[in-house]
């Protein structure tokens, strides 16, 4: 059967070059990087080389790059680590500002911190395109605010958040706070969906903490990074040995780290890939919108090139995904039924999409190996699928 993968925002295949870079660290160079013998030192070398590579990519110092297991772990560590560290320093309960369209990793971590009485949380609204207003961040800042956490790119709809603008606001606010004796605010961004296509330089963005994961850009699942700007208070969440500057205990996942390094190296060619994907996305959007009663969700301009989400009226998202899957097309839906939870997508709800419409959400995400024929095939199959489902529905 024909196979067309249009779910790159969910995960990507491991690039063969990444796989080859990992292989020797499973089979021959398998030493523990904490050991002084030559096998251990071989492993240590690759871990530190990759750390340096990632630091270079982010415009950071290599002592600011922490290897983790995934973006969710990075996010948990960033939020809990900062808050708990501040809890131990002062009696004031820290205040977090985040948005209502964050990934569950952020929302659930914030909920945990609130429920365990460690922090207070403000959730900012978004506009109809899923965008946070930078001035809303400014207005939400309180004397006890310690952390602002806004995702770089929304995973469901692909809208890019004004991270640089928010970063500048926080920088200015921190200057004023220093003069009035208030503690500084730290800025975290979840860059999971941004890393392959957008500028992730931490100084350009003005962020103190940045989370990312490898499997969105052709590295394997199971390896992530947390960037921690120097002098950011950080209480480790996983206790044990002194690995990762004492911030994340546990033997380094050497082969996966080696693979992650290769994936970052391959990102050097991303401009080429990005511009190719942009063209494909345009074709995809134009084609899907030819189906009556469909609309694109997310920002019309401030969007990443690899994600395109739609509302298809009169067809339920999971059903669309399943019928497409039957034709070999792999896509995804934010509808309640696919995500395994009752209730419509929190992102679409925050954007003001009515529940009866958000059930018809379908996301297509493209990647480096997507071909024009793949989009052609989708545009050939999708109208029939939609017609079939609409015919089935009561009028």
């Amino acid at each position: 059967m024909k196979k067309v993968y249009l779910d790159y925002a969910a995960t990507t295949q491991v690039d063969i070059k990444v796989f080859m870079a990992m292989k020797p660290y499973f089979l021959q160079k398998f030493g523990n990087p904490s050991e002084p013998h030559f096998l251990g030192q071989q492993a240590r070398r690759v871990v530190e080389e990759v750390r340096f590579k990632i630091a270079d990519f982010l415009g950071a110092g290599s002592d600011e790059v922490i290897f983790t297991g995934c973006a969710t772990e990075s996010i948990n560590l960033a939020h809990k680590g900062l808050v708990e560290s501040l809890n131990s320093e002062s009696k004031v309960k820290p205040h977090i500002i985040t948005s209502s369209v964050e990934h569950k990793a952020v929302l659930e971590t914030c909920r945990h911190l609130k429920n365990s009485v460690k922090a207070e949380v403000t959730y900012l609204p978004v506009d109809e395109f899923g965008r946070v207003k930078a001035e809303d961040v400014l207005n939400a800042i309180r004397p006890d605010t310690c952390l602002v956490s806004i995702m770089y790119v929304n995973n469901e709809v692909g809208t890019i958040q004004p991270i640089k603008e928010i970063g500048a606001i926080i920088k200015k606010a921190n200057k004023d706070r220093l003069n009035s004796g208030l503690s500084r605010i730290f800025f975290h961004t979840d860059a999971t969906q941004a890393i392959g296509h957008l500028d992730c330089n931490v100084d350009y963005l003005g962020v103190d903490l940045l989370s990312l994961t490898g499997h969105k850009f052709y590295a394997p699942k199971g390896v992530g990074v947390l960037y921690v700007r120097n002098e950011t208070p950080m209480q480790r969440q996983q206790d044990g040995g002194g690995q990762e500057f004492g911030i994340r205990a546990g033997t380094e996942n050497v082969p996966y780290i080696a693979g992650l390094g290769k994936a970052f190296e391959l990102l050097k060619k991303r401009k080429e890939v990005t511009s190719r994907i942009e063209i494909l996305q345009k074709k995809l959007i134009t084609g899907v919108l030819k189906i009556p009663n469909t609309r694109l969700v997310g920002h019309p301009k401030e969007r990443v090139p690899h994600i395109a989400s739609f509302i298809i009226e009169g067809a339920e998202g999971e059903s669309v995904v399943l019928y497409l899957s039957d034709k070999g097309i792999i896509a995804s839906s934010g509808s309640a039924c696919t995500s395994g939870i009752a209730g419509p997508s929190h992102v679409l709800t925050a954007m003001g999409v009515a529940p009866e419409l958000s059930h018809g959400s379908v996301r297509f995400s493209i990647g480096k190996d997507t071909k024009e024929e793949d989009i052609d095939y989708l545009l050939k199959v999708l109208p029939d699928v939609v017609t079939k489902l609409r015919r089935m529905a009561p009028r």
């Binding site: 339920e316 399943l322 309640a336 395994g340 489902l389 089935m392």
Partner: protein, 138 residues
């Protein structure tokens, strides 16, 4: 290699997928004897059932049944399945079809989907009720 067929088998049984891909008794009955629409705003599923009632050996039976459904795979499969379970059956027996019966006939449903099948049995019961109400008036 990604085997798309296997992707959803973890979610849905083979039987569910059969009924989802090729639903039985889908459509409408223009001169139906009983009609009912049920909907679940949380899940977003809407189902409409049409029945035709006939006589067989002194008891009233469902001589024809059709459905229209807007919803997820489980909503469509359970709608389809209940129509095959009740077609030709006496009304009293058709009314007794529970969500568990539908789920079992489909080879099981993921727990999170069970509320979808509650809809199908509700929908059919309501269509029978609608038939009875119409008959009382005449």
């Amino acid at each position: 290699m990604i085997k798309t067929d296997n992707l959803f088998n973890q979610l849905y049984s083979k039987k569910v997928m059969e009924h989802f891909k090729n639903p039985k008794n889908m459509g409408e009955i223009k001169d139906a004897d009983g009609v009912a629409t049920v909907g679940n705003p949380i899940c977003g599923d809407v189902m409409k059932f049409y029945i035709k009632v006939g006589k067989k050996g002194g008891s009233e039976i469902i001589s024809d049944v059709k459905f229209q459904t807007l919803g997820c795979g489980a909503a469509i499969a359970t709608s389809s399945m209940i129509t095959t379970l009740v077609k030709g059956q006496p009304l009293e027996k058709a009314e007794k079809v529970t969500k568990q019966v539908i789920a079992e006939a489909l080879g099981g449903l993921p727990p999170v989907k069970m509320h979808c099948s509650v809809l199908a049995d509700e929908g059919l019961k309501k269509a029978i009720k609608n038939y009875r109400q119409r008959n009382r008036k005449t």
